[in-house]
């Protein structure tokens, strides 16, 4: 199967610090890929490079067969991005935020646009009373859900999540994981997420990409955690990882 995202020989450095040193990564159609790595290993830079927000020093990135460069037209209709703190436009209400991409990329009537936006907001798990609120009036978790609704507004093929559960309490984080899994199973989505949350990694992700030494170690979770690389070994042998895995086994979930 054709990968939906292909990153090859990516090199990014800031001054003397080499963040990516010939990084290769392929994201397959329909999978949920979790990107993990210590701080400073360039998770965000990788995401920003894929989205065309950061120009890498060298290397090639293709998304849905299109090369990311100065002009990658039409991709914005096929991907949705949930930024870490939502990045909702503060001058617009929740509903207007979700309507914005719809208005930009279609000519549907205002009534349908509004209804479709409301539908996506409901899908993201928010109540109707949030439609006309401004982002500043929402809690962090609600803002993330509203931003998720915006990311889903155009029926994207690929959904990017930047630390979706960061800053949420454990209950809200679990709910968000369930929402992600639900969306993945009910919409035809490929999901790429940066996460620090082992819980998310174990429950939602099909494969993981661990960024170490400027490269990515990619594979199913079970495979990657067997890696002998010291950082990967330490990351997955953390007591918390064992605890979560144990819980997962008891819950009888297969991932």
């Amino acid at each position: 199967m054709e990968p939906v995202i292909r990153v090859s020989k990516l090199i990014n450095h800031f001054g003397a610090q080499r963040v990516h040193d010939g990084l290769d990564l392929e994201v397959l159609h329909g999978e949920v890929l979790g990107i993990v790595g210590g701080s400073g290993t360039g998770k965000s830079v990788l995401l920003r490079s894929i989205l065309g927000l950061h120009k890498p020093q060298s290397g090639e990135i293709e998304v849905l067969g299109q090369r990311i460069g100065r002009k990658h037209t039409g991709l914005e209709k096929q991907w949705g991005v949930l930024f870490q703190n939502g990045a909702l436009l503060s001058a617009l209400t929740v509903c207007q935020n979700v309507e914005l991409p719809i208005a930009l990329h279609s000519n549907m009537s205002a009534a349908i646009r509004r209804e479709l936006a409301e539908l996506k907001i409901q899908m993201a798990g928010l109540q109707p009373d949030t439609y006309d609120k401004y982002p500043a009036e929402l809690s962090g978790g609600m803002r993330k859900r509203a931003a998720l609704a915006r990311a889903l507004a155009l029926e994207p093929k690929i959904l990017f999540l930047d630390e979706p559960t960061a800053g949420l309490d454990p209950i809200a984080a679990t709910e968000f994981d369930e929402l992600t899994a639900y969306l993945h199973s009910s919409l035809d989505l490929t999901i790429v997420m940066i996460t620090h949350d082992l819980d998310t990694l174990f429950t939602v992700c099909d494969r993981v990409a661990v960024l170490v030494d400027g490269k990515a170690v990619v594979g199913p979770l079970q495979e990657v955690r067997e890696s002998s690389h010291p950082w990967i070994h330490r990351y997955f042998s953390d007591p918390r990882a064992h605890r979560i895995e144990h819980m997962e086994r008891n819950r009888g979930r297969t991932h």
């Binding site: 065309g52 703190n85 909702l88 436009l89 503060s90 349908i112 800053g167 209950i171």
Partner: protein, 405 residues
């Protein structure tokens, strides 16, 4: 492939009651449109869907469905076996129509959904039912105290980076003006309100006071020559040539220069600029150019109002304190005011506006990383804008006097 049929009963949320009654077309004929066919069989209206029901053609689907009317049919059947693709947007348009039929008291039925398609329609019904259940607990944010403050301030920009940014602003303005859009237009109008309309009272007030100051100071000097009446000339000429536009410019630098830097800086910190980019919007077109254009439009208008308010200030002092009658003052004003002086003043306004808006948006864009930097760059924007306005005014004055204008 599994096949499903389901009957959807709605609780008539918003009855989109239709009073249309003409059954257009032959009673039992087949009506064809690109996305569906429909025909009447006794009291059942059968709508057979085909092709793609997706986001991309939602508008066409809706327009086409609008032409379909129940007209007497008791039962509406949506025959979905012929669908190629359907997504949430397409399903919504369909669901909406079925709701409309339900509100008119007809039964609607969906037949022949393929498993994959069925999922989407089920999604909609699911969501409408479970909206309350999903949102069970109010998410609480664990804030990371002082995280922003801990981030070290970014290394100061080098001179070359500064020049690059000036080039970026120039490019932003030019490309923004050449790529007008509905969104950019809305933002421009909003900014004209913020930078122009809302600044009117304060600009007129300070210009009025400046008129009072000029008249008093002038009168003291002119009284020595017994030429107090020339106060009117003094106020008029200085207001038209210098003070009106300068006061408006300084006020705009304080109000709008800082607002531009702060608003764009916050959007940068909040990743809103990145969000715009990934949605296919160019921040240059929708944020920077509208602000620059708005100020270029509103500053000349503010300058004209300032000139007038200043002259009224002079009149007030003359009448109340200098024994000059209003008629005399107005006569002198009319005699001394010239179109040339007015234009000399007015021509500076767009230049001031470009400087203020340029430096404001530039400092906003330079914000990266920390809230402290945002505050610092906002201050920088105001200081530099005021400095540039006065510097430019000095250059104008020298050039105009050399040219003898």
């Amino acid at each position: 492939m599994a096949w499903y049929s389901l009957t959807v009963r709605h609780s008539g949320r918003t009855p989109l009651q239709s009073s249309r009654n003409a059954w257009s077309g032959a009673a039992d004929g087949v009506h064809v449109s690109p996305y569906f066919e429909y025909q009447r069989e006794s009291d059942t209206l059968i709508i057979s869907l085909k092709d793609d029901w997706t986001f991309g053609n939602a508008k066409e689907l809706d327009d086409a469905l609008r032409t379909v009317q129940g007209n007497g049919a008791r039962q509406i059947t949506f025959q979905c076996g012929g669908l190629q693709k359907i997504d949430l947007a397409g399903a919504w348009v369909l669901f909406r129509k079925s709701q409309e039929f339900e509100a008119e008291g007809r039964d609607t039925q969906f037949l022949g959904f393929k498993a994959a398609h069925f999922k989407f329609l089920q999604n909609i019904t699911d969501i409408r039912d479970s909206a309350v259940a999903v949102q069970s607990a109010e998410p609480v944010v664990l804030t990371e105290p002082g995280r922003l403050n801990q981030i070290l301030e970014a290394v100061g920009r080098t001179a070359t980076a500064g020049i690059e940014d000036v080039g970026r602003i120039a490019h932003a303005i030019l490309s923004g003006i050449t790529h007008p859009s509905r969104l950019a237009l809305d933002e421009t109008i909003r900014q004209i309100e913020h930078t122009g309309a809302r600044a009117v009272p304060i600009v007129m007030l300070i210009a009025f006071f400046m008129g009072i100051i000029l008249a008093y100071q002038g009168a003291n000097q002119l009284a020595e020559f017994g030429a107090e009446i020339l106060v009117a000339d003094l106020v008029t000429v200085s207001m038209l040539r210098e003070m009106g536009v300068l006061l408006a410019g300084i006020m705009a630098a304080g109000r709008s220069g800082s607002a531009f830097a702060a608003s764009i800086g916050v959007m940068k910190l909040n990743e809103e600029i990145d969000a715009l980019r990934v949605m296919g919007l160019n921040p240059n077109h929708v944020l920077i150019a509208p602000r620059v254009v708005a100020l270029v439009i509103s500053l000349p208008l503010l300058a004209v109002l300032g000139m007038m308010a200043g002259m009224v200030g002079g009149l007030t002092v003359s009448v109340l304190a200098l024994d000059i009658s209003a008629v005399q003052y107005v006569e002198r004003t009319v005699a001394s005011a010239s179109i040339q002086d007015f234009l000399v003043g007015l021509v500076k306004a767009p230049v001031f506006a470009l400087l203020i808006a340029g430096v404001g948006t530039l400092r906003g864009i330079q914000v990266s990383g920390s809230a402290e930097q945002l505050g610092r760059l906002t201050t920088t924007a105001v200081v530099q804008a005021v400095f540039l306005v006065i510097l430019a005014d000095a250059i104008f004055t020298v050039v105009f006097s050399r040219l003898g204008i």
